[in-house]
């Protein structure tokens, strides 16, 4: 396959970047998107140029490290697929492909396609945990969890914190991420004691980190590689109301 890449390049420490065009040939349809970039980077390195920086780790779609906006869609055109699991067979010979970093004030660009997603960690630090004494693991059946609750919590816990929801949101809101982390605990008995303090703290930290506000557009859920659904945000909204009115 022959492709034209328009890639965002931003030197480390710079506040501005620009698009650079790369022509590449001999791309196999069986390569992943990141492998295709590896090939481009090999050539850049041999030519004595700076390779394109991008984040990756597992390359199996489970760690949430990779992430780039490909032709205007976070993680590219395939549903429920991270950039590392996206294969070149979903593109056509001769395609022009735009590659940009996640764009959000809360995600400053470190270099090229690599952004600092520490703001998501700060939301986690604000409440994405249960306060429990550590020690030996408790007896597994000491707290019974209904099957539906376990399944629902697991669905939310599938979030890999990649930040695609922020990238896709027209408001650069991280509400789907925040809602998934809230729902993961609020759907379990262990999450109940701190449920209402947690949701408010996490939302307040989300806002303070400079994310935008959710306007129920739904692009986040549509690009989420783990298919976290929009109704996790409904549940978060409900908990915020409960925390003001009923608790």
């Amino acid at each position: 396959m022959r492709l034209t890449l328009k890639v965002w390049r931003q030197p480390k420490g710079a506040t501005k970047g620009h698009f650079e065009t790369y022509e590449t040939d001999g791309v196999s349809p069986d390569m992943s998107f990141l492998e295709m970039l590896d090939v481009v980077n090999d050539r850049l390195t041999l030519d004595g140029q700076d390779p394109i920086a991008f984040d990756h780790d597992c390359r199996e779609g489970i760690c949430g490290t990779c992430g780039m906006v490909i032709n205007g869609v976070a993680h590219g055109p395939e549903r429920a697929t991270t950039a590392c699991q996206l294969h070149m067979r979903h593109f056509r010979d001769g395609d022009v492909i735009h590659i940009e970093p996640w764009r959000a004030a809360a995600f400053p660009v470190i270099k090229d396609l690599v952004v600092d997603r520490g703001a998501l960690d700060r939301i986690m630090e604000a409440g994405g945990f249960v306060t429990a004494p550590t020690g030996a693991a408790p007896e597994a059946h000491s707290t019974l969890v209904p099957k539906e609750a376990a399944d629902a919590a697991f669905e939310a816990a599938a979030c890999i914190q990649c930040g695609a929801c922020v990238a896709a949101c027209p408001n650069a809101s991280a509400m789907l991420f925040t809602a998934a982390k809230v729902a993961h605990l609020s759907r379990l008995p262990q999450g109940q004691p701190e449920r209402y303090g947690r949701v408010v703290k996490m939302v307040a930290t989300h806002d303070a980190a400079g994310f935008g506000n959710c306007t129920n557009i739904g692009e986040c859920a549509a690009v989420c590689p783990k298919e976290i659904k929009l109704d996790t945000i409904t549940a978060l909204n409900r908990d915020v109301i409960s925390s003001t009115l009923f608790q």
Binding site: K201, V203, G212, T215, I217, A222, K229
Partner: protein, 232 residues
């Protein structure tokens, strides 16, 4: 047990948060939706002729009389709607500014995966509706923008305004903007208030779209009828 997720200060923090402000927008929006829907139903009385339509306008002033003195309910409603509108606009503006700041560098290329036109035009649509409300009050409620306004002769005033085709077209466009605003807004308000669920979602979306279209058809019938020559 001590918890690190203390509950103190939770209430004000929740109200100030982006979610709290959005919920304020949802509640005030639903209030306005209630008014707009009843107003649309009321405007259908236009087709019962001048006498009946004028009588309807008069009746509005006698609502809840003698519990409230003549005209008081109307003023109460006006006050309530004004406060609701100001809060709605304040929340929308402050949230929009936060969202603008949240994405200082735009994408060179964006592709909408599923976002509807209605959901992406809530902000500008809202501005159009606000401008319309101002003009509309000056035209049919207070009179200065109406050719030869006569207080209480609501049928006459309506015809005098809308028989000018550019005004009729402007009304149709404005009512179209209201339709789009509700098309996304009614569903969105329920989502924001936590009333949505996977089971109910399809139904709520359908209701929201239907209600938006009903409001459009109901309101549009008046300028269209006048353009077509209906005079009671």
């Amino acid at each position: 047990m001590t918890t690190t997720l203390a509950r103190s200060g939770r209430r004000p923090a929740a109200l100030r948060s982006t979610v709290g402000r959005k919920q304020l927008m949802a509640v005030t929006g639903v209030l306005w939706f209630g008014f707009v829907f009843l107003h649309m139903v009321g405007m259908l009385k236009f087709f019962t002729g001048p006498e009946s339509f004028d009588h309807y306008s008069h009746w509005l002033r006698t609502l809840f009389s003698p519990l409230f003195p003549h005209g008081w309910f109307l003023w109460l409603q006006r006050g309530g709607l004004t406060v609701a509108l100001l809060l709605h606009i304040w929340a929308a503006t402050s949230l929009t500014r936060q969202s603008r700041r949240a994405r200082p560098v735009r994408y060179a290329r964006t592709t909408n995966v599923q976002a509807t036109y209605a959901s992406r035009t809530m902000r500008w649509g809202g501005v159009i509706i606000l401008l319309f409300i101002v003009y509309h009050l000056l035209d049919l409620s207070m009179g200065p923008a109406n050719p030869g306004y006569v207080r209480g002769e609501v049928f006459r005033n309506t015809v005098a305004s809308l028989e000018r085709w550019p005004v009729a077209i402007a009304y149709l466009l404005a009512v179209g903007a209201v339709c789009l605003h509700l098309y996304h807004g009614v569903w969105s308000a329920l989502q924001t208030m936590g009333a949505n669920s996977p089971k109910r979602d399809a139904m709520i979306r359908r209701v929201s779209k239907t209600v938006g279209l009903l409001v459009f058809v109901g309101f549009a019938s008046v300028p269209v009828a006048i353009l077509l020559g209906y005079r009671g």
